[in-house]
Structures are given as structure tokens and as C-alpha cells.
Symmetry: C2
Subunit: 583 residues, 2 copies
């Protein structure tokens, strides 16, 4: 008989478990403890508080009805007790007790439990370079940090800031500091792209270009060596070096550093109590969200669970997952049998006026998980192209070559809800391991103001299907630009003469323009112009505005025996999304 | 060996089949015929041409690269022939011939085929009341009609228009005529709600209020008796009568009538050739899109296929389905094995500045299909509630009571892409027959600018789960308003005293206000005030801003033995969405 439930942590998962548990069981004794005084806040809202979208810090811990989510709220409204400034020191599993310290009273005590929930969250990593604990080096993880950052900025103390890490929080903070405050921002990232956990390099380039266009300085493949400063004045510069150590170290002057180098699960308490953790150091849980001790549950940022696409364990610090897991835990504590089978890794982010979303595995993650991934990238308007506010969306779909199982999806475009709509339509299918044809026929809702009759998500499926069956042979747009710069490739441009003119002028020896509607008559000119060199080694790269005409051309040339061609994925639209104009 | 393919119809499905077939087979002989001269247009764009969003008629039959999709385009670019002004008269299946008439040459001929595709589309219904064929009575089905309507308006000939039918086309045309042209519009609908095929009555009320707020006059449950006018001057009025014949006939003066009373599949040719049609008069096809003659395929608006949720056959005149089916047909004609298993009935529509979407079955459709449906309605912001541009979204989820299988979803809100995102995330699951818990845990992408941590779609799942397990007992908001007007119900309002004050004043005997955070102390007052009458017969109706607080109150009162309560679904937010303010 479950009488006493103790929950360690009162930010996202903890309160969710307690609230639902009280609703489904009016009698059970629930105690939530947290070492902090500020609780139940939307940590993911911090960049929007710093950036001014959310005016008051209170907005991040208020309900939609403007009630503050504090200790009295949980007692009076939700019917359970939260003890703040109480830290869990140890779990005595054999005695079913949590040893706690009352931080403001400088005394220890014990709490009995029948069921325990560990909701200790995660802590921002402070990498082991010198200076990461200097004043004015901030992490972004709770409301105290949020206040400190915003106060420093509002007081005019910050002109140059360095953000370390180009994951979601780094990018959101870079936007917040630039957009509202006009602070000069440099983002330093170890990987050779932004959002390495979320996007392939090509889609990441779209984000990188957006950041650069908005004045954010990006330094990729760079390692922070040390943060310089002193205890009285705080930081004054960040020293970085090329990842390979090839270049001289560079010093970036700054008066604030945002450390956004990822988080690690707070699993020490669990480890000390003998609970199993995974390779990501998260507390391992089963589908019922039980740890290796069936009387102890965990979830949220400190837990490790299955990625349903890769089959590997993962940690996924997202308030949305914490809330869903919290509901499952409450049901199960109360004797129910609810399940959280794992995550397919959905993600979205606003980057200035662009929305980016993904689900499943990136190309690199798919490879790492043992798949043989094949990808397709399409550029297409997010509404019927004749509709006035139609905007380009870029979408990538990834499947396994042999089994044709869909593994991942990524999208970016100016209308963020429309981007989210496409990714969220594919996401629910990922755990079923569906064939690409499911995406070709995916029945997304259609009306000209919101979609194309052949929607971008269906086209992504079709292009991937064509790629898998060999009729479409593509080149990554990023690679195409690099090859063009090196100067040794031939291009067939099937856009109109007007659109192609300046390209033909700039690349007279390489850039052939035959508009699509003349190709069936004039294709002979290609062989003539290339005088046999194409067939030998270098393929002919076919480009149009967004991809479909170049595919049509590729298929046609194929039928004429010209098979050594590559379709530039997403066409010149994709080129412009990741690179300054070529002419 | 397939050498000759004939395709009857060159609007949506026909060209799609031909284009893909040419891409995957450069040799095959493809002939597309159409009795019209204007082909390959986006018929669903007509309201946006009339309403001015699309400036030129050409926009509806141009590619994104501004090429007109006409006969030369298909010949030069796509590599096949389209014969316009050629009508199919008969199919001689035993001889594999189509008898055709060359309309401009007044002669007949025959086309041989190995495989035939019937893509004859649908025709707007002209109901059997007198006057439906008078001048200035327009249907909305091809570009000729579109031109005629827009020309008449642009020439200042229209001050009052009557739209007959409140389905998608009727509503889109009502918006087009009102928004740009300021024409006085009356919409007459036989059913007692708008969009009866797409929405339940409560969600339809949201659309109806929007139309009314924008000045569209709605006459529901009304039957058109006749259209009055003469051949020289066209219509001058529409006579309607109550569905039950109870009221006197009313006459609506007008100078234009838009007939939007639905469409019927053009299946006569197929019927005459002995092919099977379904109960909706559509040409029956299997998953490979073959008719009952395996050498004859069909798809698009003239075909009838499975609804994957109800299991019943349906027709679904949508350009999006036509395109997907067209691809399947092309693959199969070329010897492949692609499948279109059916539709889950997704749908979306823009209604002025509101987006509406649905998938699966409505409550009534679920009942008709033999299910025992249970529904939940939630009102919630479409972003994190602290995010500045958050807007309310209303969402309904329907499941079968016994099996808990999700059957349908409906949503409406000001940010249409966000509405579409939620419905399209549920739609892919419908054909799998998933349990409601799949929606509770549905992994939609999360970031504060685009979603709540506990997103509206997950909450819809949770509320439905709570309803199915009996912990939430709801009342339809529409019904609540009616009961309140009749004056014999008691209401517990758990909003703040300030919010509730004017309601308490207006309904002193019935409206009890105990703010949520005082309910645990003050709940005794309820019994006192009701002096026992609640428990007897009439339930206590609990209301808050959007629903969660009233649910919390219901659960709490339950634990205190007060079980005869009903939660007003969607709270006062839902009341305002479907009704003028109550005070």
C-alpha cells in the first residue's frame, strides 16, 4: 500500500508527478523537496526573458491564469507540500528513507517513502578550461542565472559577449543578446557546425547563415583554451584555438561569457544509492519510468531512456518530455500501468525569424547507430505557390538504404509553425519503422493557404524514394558550392535564360544554360559543349530553382544515355539559403 | 507489354500520372485528353482568385517557375501530348478503345490503350429546385466559372450574393466575396451547422461565430425552395424555407448565387463501361488504384476508396489526394507495385483570420460507423503561455469508449499553421488504430515560441483519457449555454473574484464563485448554498478560464463526496469562441 511519496526536485517533472498524483489520489501523502527557493519554472523560457519577449521573471513561473507557482500555490491549489531549500543528501534504499539537509536551518533529517521520484534535473557543464568559474561567466539553467544575466545587460555592463557552445541554448542566447540589446556576440563551437545533435551539416548551414546575416559572429571547429579575467572584474577575454591546434590561439575580448556547452544529468544521488546509470550518465529507467529499484522512479533531464529510432539509450533534457513522463509516473505510483516507451528525438528552435525542427536521427547519428543512411533535401513553398504569403521551406528526409525505413527528418523556414507542422507529421511514424512510401502518401491536411497539393513533406518522400531507387542521383548543395569554387565542374542550368545569364557570364567554360522547355530539342548541345569530357570522369551537375526541373532533366538525359549527372538538391534556392549569391 | 496509355482528364490526377509515368518510362506512349481548353489548374485556388489573394487567373495554372501549364508545356517540358477539347464518349473495354469526340472539329474517333486512366473529376451538384440554371447562378469548379464570378463582381454587378451550401467551398467563397469586395453575403445551409462533413457542432460553432463576426449572414437548417429570376436579367432572389416547413418561406434578394452544394463524381463513363461504383457513386478502386477492370485505373475526385478509420468507402475531392494517387497509378502502370490504401480524411480551411483542421471521423460520423464515441475539448494557448504571440487554440479529440481507439481530431485557432501542426501530428496515427495514450505521449516538437511543454495536443489526449476513465465528467459548452439560458442550473466558478463578479451579479441565485486557491478551505459553502438541491437532480456545473482549474475542482469535490458535477469543456474561453459574452 503506497502511503508516502517523496519527490526530489520541484522544477518540471517533480510538480507534474505530484499534481497528477494528487488528482488521481486525494489521500496519498506527497512531499516534494527542492534545494532551491525558486521552483516550477519554465527553464526553456530563460532566453526569451533575457531577450525581452517575456517581460517579467515571474512570467516563467506563473500559470496561464497568472498564479505564481510557489509553495502556497502548490499547497492551496494543488494540495501537496513543497519544501524548498531542502537538499537530498542520500537515499537509504533498504530503509526507504531520504536523508535531507534543511539548508536554511543547518540541520539534517530523514523523510520516509513508499515510492520515491528522483527529479534532480541536469547541470550545465563547466568544461575543464581555466576561468570557467570566473565572475561574469554565466550558465543558463535557473532563474538566478537568468536574473544575473539580464541585470548585467540592463545595467549596461555588456558590450561584447562570447557564447560557448552552439547548441539550442547557445543559439537562443545569442539571438536574445543580439536582437534586443545589440550586444556584439561571438559564438564559439567545437564542432564544425551549429546544432550538431539536431541537424546535418547542410541544414545547419541554413542556421549558420541566418546567424551571420543577423550579425552573430560564428567560430566553428574552435576550442576554448581558457577564459581570462580576475575575481574582482570578471572575464575580459576568451582564448580559443583551432581544433587541430594548427592556428595560433586567438583572444576574444568580452565582458560576459555564456557557457552553453551542454548539460549533464544530476545522477550522483542515484549512483550513490546503487541505481544503474547509462552511458550518458543518466539514471536508467524502464518503460514504466522505474529505475533499477522498482520503488524509485525517475524522469526528466536526469533520466536515460530509449531512443526509439536508434534503439540506443539517450538523455533528452526537454520540459515537454518531463511533463509526459511525469504523468506516466504518477499513474504508475497509484497502481496504474502507463508507459513511456522512449523518445524519437523531436526538437524545434526559433532562430531569429526562422523556425527549425527535426525528429529522429541525423545522417551522422544514423551512421553511428549502424544504419546505411540515404538522404533527400527539398526546397519548396510552404503553401500553394500561388498563395501570397508562401515562403520557402527546406526539408530533409533520411532513410536506411536497404530497408527503406524512415530514420529522420529536418526542416527550416521562415514560418516556424509551418516547419513544425511538417516535422511533427513525420515524427509519430518514426517509432513504427515505416517505409519511405508512407511519407510519399502522408495525409497532411491540404488547403492552398496552408499547403501545396503535393506538399513539401510528400515531395521529400518522393525525392527520397527516387533517390533510393536510383533514378535521382544527387549532390549535396554544400559540396556543389565547394566544387564550383575549385572550378573543375560542368553545370547544366535549366532555368530561364534571364535567370542563368549572369552565371553563364561568370563561368563561361562551365555553365551551360538550356531552359527546361528547350531541353528535349537542344540536349545535343551538351555533349558538343563538353566535347566528351563529361563522360570521362566529372559528372554534369544539373541545377534549377529548387530541384524538380533539374530532376526532370536528369531523368530525360538518362533516357538519352547521359547517365553521369548529379542533381543539385534544393537547387539555387538551397544555395542561397546556405551561401551568399554565387554571382 | 504496356505501350499505349490513355488518360481521360487533364486537371489534377491526369497530368500527375502522365508526368511521373514519362519520368519513369521515357518510351511509353501517353495521351491525355480533356474536354476543356483550360487544363491542369488548381481548382482549390479559385476562391483565392475571386478574393484577390491570387491576382491573375494564370496563377492557378502556372508552375512555381511561372511556366503556364498548357499543351505546349506538357509537350516540351514533360514530354507527352494533351488533346484539349476532346471528350471521351465511351470505353470499349473488350477492344481496349476509348471513343472520343473532337469537340472543335465535330467528329468522333477512337484511341487505343493498353492501360487507361479515368480522371474525370467531379461536377458541382445542381439541386433539383427551380432556377438553379439561371444566369448569375454560378458553381465553383473550373476557371471559366472563376472568371465569370470575378468579372461580374469587378464590373460592380453584385451587391448581394447568396451562397448555397456551407461546406468548404461555400465558406471560402463567402470569405472571398466579403473580404475583398464588401458584398453582402447570405449563406444558406440545409444542415444545422457549417462544415457538417468536417466538424462536430461545437467546433462548427467557432466557425459560425467567426463568419457572423465578419458580417456573413448564416441561415442554417434552411432549404432552398427556388431561385427566382429570368433569362435576361438572371437571378433576383432566393426563396428558402425552414427544414421542417414550419416557418413561412423567406425571400432573399440577390444579384448573384453561388451554388456550393457539394459535388458528385463523374462516373457515368465508368458505369456505362460496366465498372463498379460505390454507394457514393464514385468509381471503386483497390489499393493499387485499379477499377474492377485491372487495365483501367482511376483516382481523384471521381474515385471511391476506403476511409481508413471508418472502414467505409468514401469520396474525397481534394487535389492533394489526387496527386498522391496519381503517383501510385503511374508506378503501377509501369509494372511497379505502389499502394494507396485509403484516406483518414484530413482537411483544413482558412476562415478569415482563423485556421481550422480535422482528421478522422466527427462524433456523428463515428456513431454512424458503429463506434461509441467519446470526445474531449480543450482550449489552450498554441505556444508557451508566457510567449508574446501565444493565441488560444481549441482542439477536440474523439475515441471509441470501449476500445479507447482514437477516431478523430478537430482544431481551430487564429494561427492556422499551428492548428494544422496539431491535426497533422495526430492524422498519421489514425490508420493504426492507436490507444488514446499515444496522444498523451505524442512527441510533438517543443520550444516555447511554438508549443507548450504540455502541448495542447497532449492535453487533449490527457483530457480524453480522464474522460474515458471517468475522472472527468464534462458538459458540452454549447449545451451549457443553453441550460444557463433556461435558468435552472447551478454554476461553480473557480476563477478569481474579479473575473467572476459580473457573473455572480447577473445570476445571483445560481453562480457561486470560489477561487481555485480557496476551494480546499471553502468547499463547504457550496452545499450550504445549494441547500441540498444539487445532489437531487441537477448537477453542479464547474467553470474556469479554459478547463484545467475546473477539472481540478471536479476531482477535489469528488474526493469530498460531491460527485454530481460537470466540467464545462474549454471553460469560458470556449464560451466566448462560440457565443457572445454571457455578461
Amino acid at each position: 500500500m503506497v502511503e508516502k511519496v517523496v519527490i526530489i526536485g520541484a522544477v518540471a517533472l517533480g510538480p507534474k508527478v505530484a499534481c497528477r498524483l494528487r488528482r488521481i489520489n486525494p489521500e496519498i501523502d506527497i512531499t516534494v523537496i527542492d534545494r532551491d527557493s525558486l521552483i516550477s519554472y519554465g527553464g526553456c523560457g530563460i532566453p526569451y526573458y533575457v531577450g525581452g519577449d517575456v517581460a517579467e521573471l515571474e512570467g516563467l513561473y506563473s500559470t496561464i491564469a497568472h498564479a505564481k507557482r510557489d509553495v502556497p500555490f502548490f499547497r492551496n491549489v494543488k494540495g501537496f507540500n513543497v519544501l524548498t531549500r531542502v537538499e537530498a543528501l542520500a537515499i537509504k534504499r533498504s530503509e526507504k528513507k531520504v536523508v535531507v539537509r534543511y539548508l536554511d536551518e543547518d540541520r539534517d533529517g530523514e523523510l520516509n517513502y513508499d515510492k520515491l521520484v528522483i527529479a534532480t534535473g541536469a547541470t550545465p557543464m563547466r568544461p575543464p578550461f581555466p576561468g570557467s568559474d570566473l565572475p561574469k561567466v554565466h550558465v543558463v539553467s535557473n532563474l538566478h542565472h537568468a536574473s544575473a544575466i539580464k541585470n548585467a545587460i540592463a545595467n549596461g555592463e555588456v558590450e561584447h559577449a562570447v557564447v560557448i557552445g552552439a547548441g539550442a541554448i547557445g543559439i537562443e542566447m545569442a539571438e536574445a543578446l543580439t536582437d534586443l540589446w545589440g550586444i556584439e556576440i561571438t559564438v564559439v563551437e567545437m564542432a564544425d557546425q551549429v546544432l550538431p545533435q539536431a541537424l546535418g551539416k547542410d541544414m545547419a548551414r541554413i542556421v549558420e547563415k541566418k546567424l551571420e546575416d543577423r550579425g552573430v559572429k560564428l567560430l566553428l571547429s574552435q576550442k576554448v583554451m581558457r577564459i581570462n579575467g580576475d575575481l574582482d572584474n570578471g572575464v575580459h577575454s576568451v582564448e580559443i584555438a583551432d581544433q587541430l591546434g594548427k592556428t595560433t590561439e586567438t583572444s576574444l575580448p568580452c565582458d560576459m561569457v555564456i557557457l552553453a556547452a551542454g548539460v549533464r544529468p544530476n545522477s550522483e544521488l542515484a549512483v550513490a544509492a546503487g541505481l544503474a546509470v547509462g552511458k550518458n550518465r543518466g539514471i536508467l529507467v524502464n518503460r514504466c519510468m522505474q529505475t533499477t529499484d522498482p520503488d524509485i522512479f525517475s524522469g526528466g533531464d536526469c533520466a536515460e531512456f530509449a531512443n526509439l529510432v536508434s534503439g540506443l539509450d539517450c538523455v533528452m533534457p526537454l520540459g515537454s518530455l518531463a511533463n509526459r513522463q511525469g504523468r506516466v509516473i504518477a499513474t504508475n505510483i497509484n497502481g496504474g500501468n502507463d508507459q513511456f516507451p522512449g523518445s524519437v528525438g523531436t526538437f524545434c528552435i526559433k532562430v531569429f525569424d526562422m523556425g527549425v525542427a527535426k525528429a529522429g536521427l541525423t545522417f551522422a547519428q544514423a551512421q553511428a547507430a549502424g544504419f546505411d543512411p540515404v538522404q533527400a533535401v527539398v526546397a519548396q513553398s510552404d503553401r500553394a505557390h500561388f498563395f501570397p504569403d508562401a515562403e520557402f521551406m527546406f526539408m530533409k528526409l533520411i532513410a536506411d538504404r536497404k530497408t527503406r525505413t524512415v530514420l529522420g527528418v529536418e526542416a527550416a523556414g521562415p514560418q516556424g509553425d509551418a516547419v513544425k507542422a511538417r516535422v511533427d507529421a513525420v515524427a509519430p511514424l518514426l517509432k513504427f519503422g515505416v517505409d519511405v512510401s508512407e511519407i510519399c502518401n502522408l495525409e497532411v491536411s491540404y488547403s492552398p493557404p496552408y499547403a501545396s497539393a503535393m506538399d513539401v513533406v510528400n515531395n521529400a518522400g518522393n525525392v527520397l524514394d527516387n533517390t533510393l531507387n536510383g533514378s535521382l542521383r544527387a549532390i549535396d548543395t554544400f559540396e556543389f558550392i565547394e566544387l564550383l569554387k575549385q572550378g573543375d565542374i560542368n553545370v547544366l542550368d535549366v532555368r530561364s535564360s534571364v535567370q542563368a545569364a549572369s552565371f553563364v557570364q561568370k563561368y563561361p567554360a562551365q555553365w551551360i544554360n538550356i531552359p527546361q522547355d528547350e531541353l528535349r530539342e537542344r540536349f545535343g548541345e551538351i555533349t558538343e559543349k563538353l566535347s566528351g569530357k563529361m563522360a570521362e570522369k566529372s559528372p554534369l551537375y544539373i541545377i534549377c530553382g529548387t530541384g524538380p526541373r533539374s530532376y526532370e532533366a536528369q531523368v530525360f538525359l538518362n533516357s538519352k544515355g547521359m547517365i553521369n549527372t548529379r542533381n543539385v538538391q534544393g537547387g539555387y534556392g538551397m544555395v542561397l539559403a546556405i551561401h551568399p549569391p554565387l554571382v
